[in-house]
């Protein structure tokens, strides 16, 4: 009972804001061409959902985000592990990676449009580029900061390199890897929104830009709300994963 009440507490402010927003709209304080009432936004969602337009746009955006994330995250993770484990690999690749990292990846948009046009490759490339660095840096940090005493214990107790990697290094680096993961998920949506807003012929960002052309403010607001919901969903999945795999961590014990 107490648990439920605590959970509800988080909803007080958002629900309150929506109620106030709706109230002001009904009173005519907020003109609908500036900010449509929440009910209008829901109606727009219903309309677009019924036509199937909404779902196809969400699907294509989620696909771009997922593929870009897997490619970029995979590359960042692989380099993070390699450079954390091998001095040679680190000397060879880390300076270059750090150099590329300093370029804001969204600054690449004009170049990316020239390279790939406005098709899928461009968006996936940008998402992958943006996502790879937080994963790379945090994986590298995690592997590097694994307790050297535990590694020595593993060696003294006859662990093979393989066992040492899977039972000590990887698990020890996991908390840091998750920090990178959650950070990367944020960057993933951000990159996709910008990329789709600037150059796309489908997706949530395109839907919002298209709606702006026709002054459909309710659809613009709807897109923003959906972005927020998807971002929250991705973050919740990451948190759930974190909780499931880090149950040994004192921060997650007895919860």
């Amino acid at each position: 009972m107490r648990f439920d009440a605590k959970n509800l507490l988080a909803f007080v402010i958002p629900v309150g804001l929506i109620v106030v927003w709706q109230g002001l709209s009904l009173l005519g304080e907020v003109p609908p061409e500036v900010l449509p009432a929440p009910t209008d936004v829901v109606a727009a969602g219903w309309r677009l959902g019924a036509s199937g337009e909404l779902w196809s746009n969400i699907a294509i955006s989620a696909w771009r985000a997922g593929v870009g994330f897997l490619i970029g995250g995979g590359i960042g993770f692989a380099f993070g592990l390699a450079n954390g484990l091998s001095k040679l690999s680190e000397r060879l690749t880390d300076p270059t990676l750090q150099m590329i990292r300093t370029i804001p990846h969204l600054a690449m948009i004009p170049l990316v449009i020239l390279w790939f046009g406005i098709d899928e490759t461009a968006k996936i490339f940008l998402v992958a580029l943006g996502v790879s660095f937080p994963i790379y840096l945090n994986t590298l940090h995690g592997v590097r900061t694994v307790d050297a005493q535990l590694v020595e214990m593993g060696r003294a107790y006859g662990m093979t390199s393989r066992e040492l990697f899977f039972r000590v290094v990887l698990l020890g680096a996991l908390p840091s890897i998750f920090v990178g993961l959650r950070y990367a998920l944020g960057i993933m949506w951000l990159t996709l929104i910008v990329a789709e807003t600037i150059s796309a012929s489908s997706g949530l960002g395109y839907m919002a830009m298209n709606a702006r052309e026709f002054m459909l403010v309710d659809v613009v607001v709807l897109s923003i709300v959906i972005y927020a919901l998807l971002g929250k969903l991705a973050d919740s999945v990451a948190r759930w994963l974190e909780r499931a795999t880090l149950s040994w961590h004192p921060a997650y014990l007895a919860r």
């Binding site: 005493q149 535990l150 214990m153 003294a156 107790y157 006859g158 039972r167 000590v168 040994w248 014990l253």
Partner: protein, 298 residues
């Protein structure tokens, strides 16, 4: 009556060794001490030197440890005692000289180390941490059974399913002890494993280590800065000073030893004198080291 007493005693004292050793070929009812004698490794160091860069840490150490002996290595911090232990274990390579651990296959499994910190994997349950110490982990069920038995030996059978972070410092060190012993090592190296524990837990742990050592008959090398701990546990105390053995003292007292007995106090005096170079009593400044050497372990 006699037979029953004997068998229950021998079971209790053979404990770990007999409870799950797959290679145990000892017949039940055999006298305990005899049955485990010779399980320990013999350690021989000849002219062992070790330098880190240009800084010499060990300077030509000669030491012979017979099988089954409990040796304590004492000395001030930085004297090289931990390096000596790590070199015996093969965690450090000697710069020159020779380390021989005989009567045992020269693999890692025959020697185990307990560190000053428990060094448990925080993401593995207590039981799985002990499984790390099992030499042959290919048979998972057997490894887990062995680990469970080792945990029972250190009195933590009921904590097998917990995370290490739920244990106290002394309990963690007991898990580390179980992990070190689960593979029946012939040589157990103890690198100040009790240094971070509170005084009472420490005495408990000393008793536990002594009991298991007597049951299993491995060779034990304990590095410690606590002279009274060394005297409570060891057959022999080796004092390392500036990378060389300054004193090698036999402690030929019956066990279990009573803390604060006059004989222990006398030996402690000899060691502390040497440690602080205060052996220079009026008139015998010259032969203080000489006196010490007369008590050298043969």
């Amino acid at each position: 009556m006699t037979a029953r007493t004997l068998s229950s005693r021998s079971f209790a004292s053979r404990g770990l060794a007999a409870a799950f050793s797959p290679i145990s070929d000892r017949r039940s009812g055999e006298p305990t001490r005899l049955s485990v004698a010779g399980r320990g490794a013999t350690v021989t160091l000849r002219g062992l030197s070790k330098a880190f860069g240009s800084k010499p840490v060990l300077k030509g150490v000669d030491l012979h440890i017979p099988a089954g002996q409990f040796v304590a290595v004492v000395g001030k911090s930085g004297c090289g005692k931990s390096t000596l232990l790590r070199t015996i274990l093969g965690l450090e390579a000697p710069t020159s000289g020779d380390v021989r651990v005989a009567d045992a296959a020269p693999n890692v499994r025959s020697a185990r180390i307990m560190f000053q910190e428990p060094r448990l994997l925080p993401w593995a349950r207590v039981l799985d941490n002990v499984v790390v110490g099992v030499g042959d982990r290919s048979d998972k069920a057997a490894a887990r059974a062995a680990a469970q038995a080792a945990l029972a030996e250190v009195g933590l059978a009921d904590r097998a399913g917990e995370w290490p972070s739920a244990l106290s410092g002394g309990q963690k060190q007991r898990v580390a002890l179980a992990r070190a012993l689960v593979s029946h090592p012939r040589l157990l190296a103890l690198d100040e494993p009790l240094g971070a524990l509170d005084a009472l837990t420490r005495i408990e742990m000393q008793t536990l280590v002594e009991r298991i050592w007597r049951e299993q008959g491995f060779t034990a090398v304990l590095v410690t800065h606590d002279v009274s701990e060394a005297l409570a546990l060891a057959d022999r105390v080796v004092l390392v000073e500036d990378g060389a053995i300054a004193l090698d003292l036999a402690v030929d007292l019956p066990r279990p030893r009573r803390r604060g007995s006059p004989e222990l106090a006398r030996l402690e005096g000899i060691i502390l004198d040497q440690l602080f170079n205060a052996g220079a009593r009026p008139g015998d400044a010259e032969d203080a080291p000489e006196r010490a050497r007369q008590e050298v372990y043969a």
